[in-house]
Structure formats: C-alpha cells, structure tokens
C-alpha cells in the first residue's frame, strides 16, 4: 500500500524541472507530469492552477516527453495567474495540472500548409508544425511578433519548417508589418495552399481567417476563451461555430476560422476585464486573456 501510494503521489506532483526566460515576459516551464505526457498530442491543452487560491487557466502544450514524463508550457506574464507562475523557479511545485484536454489537431497529408503564429504562440504552433511535417506536408511558417525582443525559437522554427517568414509590427527585425500580409501574398501567388492554421492573439486569428476566406482555403484556428473546468462541465467556454453553440474545451479548441462568430467570441473574452485589472499585480499587460 505504501509503495503504491508513493507511486501515485509521483504521478500527481507537478514539479518544475526547468524554467527559461525565452523573451521579454515570456517564460518556458518544463514540468513533471507523466500521465499527461504519455497521452499528449499536438493542439491539446492543460488546465493549470498555480496555488490554492488561484484561478484555473488553460495553456496549450508546447512540448512533451513521454519518456521523461514531462510537459512544457510557455506563458506570457500578463495576468494575475501567469505573473504568479512566472515567479516560480525550478524545483517549485504547481498546485494542479489537468490534461491533456481538447481534441488534437487534425493531422494528415494536405499538401502545402501555412502555419501562422503570433506572439508567444510561436511555442504552441511548433508541435503542430512538426506533426504536419511528419505527415509529409510542405510547411510555410509565418511568425509575427510586436518587436525583435519578443521573438524566440527562430532557429528551431527554421529547422521544423520548409519556409519561414518573420514579421515584426515595428520593423525591428525582418519584415515590417502584420502576418496577414505575407499570408495574402502566398494565397495570391501561383502555389496551391491547401490549408492554413493560425494560432495566437484573437485579432490575429480573426484577420487571418478573413484573409483566407475569399480564397476558400480551409483555415483552422485554436480558440482561447475563458475556461473554468476545461472538461465540458460549465459552458463558460461556449463559442458559436456556424449556427451551433460548441464548448471549446471539449469540442475544440480548434475550429474552422471561417465559421467562428468572432464578435461574440471577442465580447465573451472581455467578461472579466474589470476584475482582471483589479487582481493584476504585475506591471506589464495587454488586454489579451491568458493565451497558451
């Protein structure tokens, strides 16, 4: 009994094995979580609660290692929970971690796939890129960040993708502008684009979807609504897809970007803006709800 108890404890003590500061306010955590690691697939997420009094927030998986029994998440310290998390160090423990949740990304051979990521979602599009690449797709990655300081994993992405395009809002590195510009050029070009996957801030996913719509290229987005349980129990994460209400945590998080009711989605994301400001103790912040 004692041994068995110890074994279970090991399965559910979420110890931080590694912490890295990837870019301004962007942190990577490799965390012990054998059960989650053994099941994880590209596109899935975890629910995390830092401390006893903390919120449960969804974070998409950036990496996992079944052999080591670890998962990797990347967070930007923008809200109360992510700031609290960013202050933890190697050896510290995370109170709760549940996963892997949501449906994995649909992976098959499509042909040429454009993978668009904005901000720190660079981290979470990597497993998607790799899985699609493994399935034989030609991958064109478009990565957009506000400025050079926020860019990370450039080399890795270069290796993972067949082509890599980087944009910065302020022109401090590579191409100046938004990700939608090179995306549009690709769609207008002579090559067949068979699918687009966009992960990142809501506005970016919305405009990527609007850009591809006239071309009729299927566009998958990874929605990041506010969640509570992440298991389909509360309906907090509901989104309208076509004419239907779906729960992002169990029916998603990936949906056809052309069918998403973006206005509704964006309004629901702002539900607790006032309270979030109030509980927000860190200095830096944009309006974006904890994306992962």
């Amino acid at each position: 009994m004692a041994r068995c108890f110890k074994k279970i404890i090991e399965l559910i003590v979420y110890k931080i094995l590694e912490k890295q500061n990837l870019a301004t306010n962007v942190y990577l955590f490799r965390i012990k979580a054998p059960l989650i690691a053994s099941k994880a697939k590209a596109g899935q997420f975890v629910m995390l609660r830092v401390s006893q009094k903390g919120e449960r927030i969804p974070l998409t998986l950036a990496e996992w290692d079944g052999a080591e029994g670890s998962i990797t998440i990347v967070v930007m310290a923008v809200g109360a929970t992510t700031c609290q998390l960013s202050r933890l160090e190697e050896g510290d423990k995370i109170n709760d971690l549940l996963g892997p949740l949501g449906n994995p990304t649909e992976i098959e051979y499509f042909g040429t796939v454009v993978c668009v990521a904005g901000g720190f979602a660079i981290a979470v599009i990597r497993p998607v890129i790799r899985a699609l690449k493994e399935a034989g797709n030609h991958i064109i990655s478009i990565i957009g960040v506000r400025n050079k300081e926020l860019l990370f994993w450039e080399k890795e992405l270069e290796q993972d993708s067949d082509e890599l395009i980087i944009t910065t809002d302020d022109g401090s590195y590579k191409r100046k502008g938004l990700v939608t510009e090179p995306l549009k050029e690709l769609l207008e070009g002579s090559r067949d684009i068979n699918r687009v996957i966009a992960i990142g801030p809501t506005a970016m996913m919305k405009f990527a979807s609007l850009t591809t719509k006239p071309f009729g290229v299927k566009t998958i987005v990874s929605l990041n609504p506010i969640m509570v349980d992440g298991t389909g129990m509360c309906g907090c994460c509901r989104v309208t897809i076509g004419d239907e209400t779906r729960f992002a945590c169990v029916d998603g998080p990936e949906f056809d970007g052309h069918l998403v009711d973006w206005e509704e989605f964006m309004s629901r994301q702002t539900t607790y803006l006032d309270q979030e400001k109030y509980s927000y103790q860190c200095s830096l912040g944009t309006g974006e709800k904890h994306h992962g």
């Binding site: 996963g99 349980d229 129990m233």
Partner: protein, 477 residues
Amino acid sequence: MNKPLNKRIDMPLQAVEARNSNFDEVALGYSPEMAKAEASRCLQCKKRPCISGCPVGIDIPGFIKAICDDNLPAAVETIKNDNILPGICGRVCPQETQCENVCVFNKGGNAIAIGRLERFTADWERNNKSEIAPVSKSPATGKRIAVVGSGPAGLTVAADLARMGHSVTVLEALHTTGGVLKYGIPDFRLPSEIIEEEVENIKALGVIFQLNTLVGKTQTIDELLERFDAVFLGTGAGLPIFMNIPGENLVGVYSANEFLTRVNLMQAYKFPEYQTPVKAGRQVAVIGGGNVAMDAARSALRLGAERVCIIYRRTEVEMPARREEVEHAIEEGVEMIFLASPVRFLGDEKRNLKSVECIRMELGEPDSSGRRRPLPVEGSQFIIDIDVAIVALGTTPNPLISQTSPGLKTSHKGTLIYDEATSRTTKPRVWAGGDIVTGSATVISAMGAARRAAADIDKFLKTDEGKAGQNWLKADV
C-alpha cells in the same frame, strides 16, 4: 422520556437580514435538548415505514432511540452502518419526499424531523471524534478497484469496498473531492468543512485519491481495467443544458454550473483573495425551479444583487426543489415569477446582457411525467431588465466517458445503460451509479446505487464470477 409532542421542533436559523450577505450556513442545527425532544416524539413503530422510505435503508427508529437514550455513539454507529455521509445527507436530502413522507406523523404535517436528527448525530460525531470507535475493516483481499469520480456515488462505493478489505483508488477530474457537493451546493447550505471531514473519514479507511485525472483523457477505462480488477463510474451528469434561444451567449448569461462553480469551488465570493472572478449582477434572473435554481438565486443575492427573480414555467406546487430551500429563498427576498418562460435574451451594443423577454405560460393536460404541461399564452410577452441570467434547467452526463470507452452503451438521454439491481454497465468489469445512470437526481439515490454496486463488486471479486465476461449484463437490456 418526554411526552410525545405533536408538533415538530423548528431548527434555529441564521436571521434573514444577516444571512443575506454571508455564505455561512443558514440552518444552525438542533441543540442536544431539541434533538432529544424531537427524537422522543418518535413512536418506534413496529412496521418502521420510514426505513423503506430511505433509499439506503438507515435504521431510522434505531438511531432515534439511541438519541433518546443519550447514547450518541450508538446513534452514529447505527447511521453509519448504512450511510457513510450523514452530515451531508442530513443537510441536503429531500426528506419530505422520502423517509419523512412515510412517517406516520406526516399526515398531520408533523413528520419526525429525521433529517435534522441525522444531521445532529453527524455533527455530534464531528465534535466528539474520540468517543467513536474506528469503523471496522475486513482483512485485505488484494483486489484493486478504480472508482471514477468523487461525488456521493464514488465516495460511497469507495468507503464500502474499502471496508470490505479491497484496495480502492478514486480518480477525480477536478482539483478537489466531493463532486456536485463541492462545486454545486453552496457553503450556506453545505459547508465545505463537512464534506472535507467526511472525505477524511474515507481516507482513514485507506482509500487513495488521485485528483486532476480526467478519465477518458488522462487515462482511459481500458487502461484502468489492465491495472484494476473492477472499475466503478460515478462521474455524474455534468453537462449543462442550455435553452438554445437567441442571445444565450451574451456576456452575463451563465449556466448554473458555471456560476456555482465559480462561487463555490473557486470561492469567487472571496475575490480578490481568491483569484477567480464572477459577475455578481445587480438584477439577476434564474431560470428553473429545482435545488440548483434556488442555490444560484440565493448565491446571487449574497453576492450583492439588488433584485433576484426565479423564472419558472410551472407553479410553486410543481417546483422540484426541496421545500425548505424554496421557503428560505422566499424569506431572503428572492422573487418568484411562475408560469413564465424566456424566449430570448437581449443585449446592448457591446453584447452585454440587458434584459430577457419572457412569455406567460398556462398549465394544460398532464404530460408523461404526470405534471401538467405548460403551454405558452400567445401574445403575452413581457420584458424584465437584468444584467445576469443563470440557466438552471438541468444537466446530462458528459459524453466523454462513453465516447472513449468501447462497449459502454448509453440511452438516448446520454445516461449509461445499466442493471439496476447490480449497477453493472454493458462493459464487463465496469459498474456505474449516480447521476451518470439516472441523469440529475439526488445525493441519496446516487449513494443507494453505489451501495448496490459495492455489494455486487464484492460478490463478483470474491467468486471470480464471469471472469471472462460470461453472465455479464447483456448489451441489449
């Protein structure tokens, strides 16, 4: 013994003015004198009808007699023989439709207050632990059982099987135990400490709790069956039902599950000390007429709402909530709008909820449930200004379990198909009980099913019956 009184003894309550703004328990429980006086009203009937009214068959006259005899340890033991969660059941069971309904005194409306006495006994135990002998356990059998879900069904099956000498692991999706008791029922009706204490008692039996484990995602049932001799599913009915009317996704429209989870499980009423926020609302409408609706309405009131109304499509008589909850809600100022049903929610330009349009209903012929069917009255629409709406129209089982477990069959309602006598599902070595098989029901009916499952699992494991799946429930029941 005192002379039998013919009126049941009221339970002291927190004053309305005070309780409207706190989440402390409303009902304060009997004093020892009150309990004894109430207990001594019991006639100790020969036929003991109350026992058959109790879904787990507690020896009700037996424990009541022990209270009369000042033998509270015996009262505790008597109850615990059949009910491992008396502090919970004493507080939340709908006694008026169960044991108290068949009590011989009920005709005059003065049934023995069995629930209050049960609660009194459990509370006494909590405060006098040292006087109670630890529950006995059979010698270890070496058999291992996985229990999925830590609501009343899961806790009961775990406790029973542990006492029978099996080694039990409970797997729970959330970060804490208790299921609906914890995330749904508010502290003012069932304080968290009561649940925690009763869970501690089960841990003391050697039951292991593995939290943060969503079966179907983190581990599948087939994987569990490789490591365990039997699996019990007590995963409840957690999927909220919405009305599918226009405006339901406006900012400010909640499912009761979300609203109550934020308030209870995540303690949003202590925001910002606890980091989960909730929109308190100034004018709140709760849709529905069950316990869940009462809990949501009374929580909204305590969060500071100026006006809280319950919109229910039938009348007070048909309300499925416990009578006491309806009474308390009305006392506290919750407004009841009967015979009305929402047709759409309206929002402002920022998509914030600003009102709900309802239509009047009238009761027609009885439907299949025997209750008179509500029918809309044409042209009777009216509008109520609100900034928060809470939809409390029930839940169905989360399809995750059945989708990820080949061989588990469900009904058209999404509930698992099972054999009522044994709690066996259509999948060999998998049992189920509670809301997952009945749809949202009651704590005690979940516990009843769990007890039947525990008995059958024990029998199955001891005899190795149907090891290869023979004799297992036929899939077409």
